[in-house]
Chain length 206, copies 2
């Protein structure tokens, strides 16, 4: 129901389950294009270049940033993350809906440049539970965990700045919520075009 694509931004704290929700949602949503981010952080076991992230070295990343080739980019706990602009713009112009998965600072930059972006914040049921998940993941040193928790605390206080909040308590419920948001946004009345109204009005002429 729209001539141009919708830009969805999924955001939330590290460890809250964004990856899992995205991976479970994408096969169930037709026509949603996931735009892969670039990062300078170290590749984790099982992660694939171009699928999970574009893993770039810092020199390459900074060059792209200097040439304005990112829709957003941010430093987060010592590493860089960014969204290459062109792929997003091209998909939206072709009428495809696009999903970005971003740290909160990056999500805020996108909202500034594209106020029409739909911002979905994934919240942990509690900070206590988020801490448990971060430790369970076993990828971060204690100092990084503390930094992530401090940041998560600030973000949760400001949760109402986003468009939607999905609480990731049980994953299946969070996935259903996320899919519902995509579906509902596609049905928003303000996206109905003149052409679609004309189609509704098609009738048998007497």
């Amino acid at each position: 129901m729209s001539g141009r694509g919708i830009l969805f931004v999924m955001t939330g704290a590290s460890g809250v389950g964004k990856d899992t929700i995205r991976q479970a949602s994408l096969p169930a949503v037709e026509g949603l294009h996931y735009s892969v981010s670039a990062t300078t952080r170290e590749r984790r076991v099982g992660e694939v270049h171009g699928e999970h992230y574009w893993f770039l070295d810092k020199v390459t990343f900074k060059g792209m940033a200097d040439r304005g080739e990112f829709l957003e980019h941010a430093e987060y706990v010592g590493d860089y993350y960014g969204t290459p602009t062109r792929a997003v713009r091209d998909a939206l112009n072709c009428g495809r809906d696009v999903l970005l998965e971003l740290e909160v600072s990056g999500a805020r930059q996108v909202k500034k440049r594209r106020p029409d972006a739909i911002m979905v914040f994934i919240a942990p049921p509690t900070l206590c539970e988020l801490e448990r998940r971060l430790r369970g993941r076993g990828t971060d040193a204690e100092e990084k965990i503390q930094k992530r928790l401090a940041r998560a605390r600030e973000e949760l206080r400001a949760v109402r700045e986003f468009d939607y909040v999905v609480v990731n308590d049980t994953i299946s419920t969070a996935v259903k919520d996320f899919i519902a948001i995509i579906r509902a946004e596609r049905a928003r009345a303000h996206r109905v075009t003149e052409q679609e109204v004309d189609l509704f009005l098609r009738e048998v002429r007497a």
Copy 2:
């Protein structure tokens, strides 16, 4: 995710399939209370008083209207329709979400009194198809059918005044859309309360 209930209003032309969508959706949505309308129109075969409508005579209806006991009421093709206020208000105050199913004129009255109501317009794929459904239903005389179609044409032109548009082409898709809208609206960030933010922030104190 809200201290007070959400008021959903499903509307659209006669014959577009509102009843069918509602009946298929309600069992799949937890905690959504359908508020039965009152009407003076003739009861159809299979319709139950208090379940499909409160079937009132015109004198009773007008008495309630004069006493201001309707959230909205309207005359439509010679009959009266109205929503008793108290049941809606009580449910919302108890934090229950409420669904109304209304003719478009009634839906517009509700939106004026309750701008926070979420308006879902059910559209036929085309007017031509709506005409086919109205004739297939076999309940209306030719004159009523023509009046309904004329009104539907005007409503479809103004479809963007609503919050959501669900095209009832195949019923299963329309039902999925409607359920998604309920689910997504419950996840809107502006509905998150201070108490819920406090809950997010719960952590283990060192």
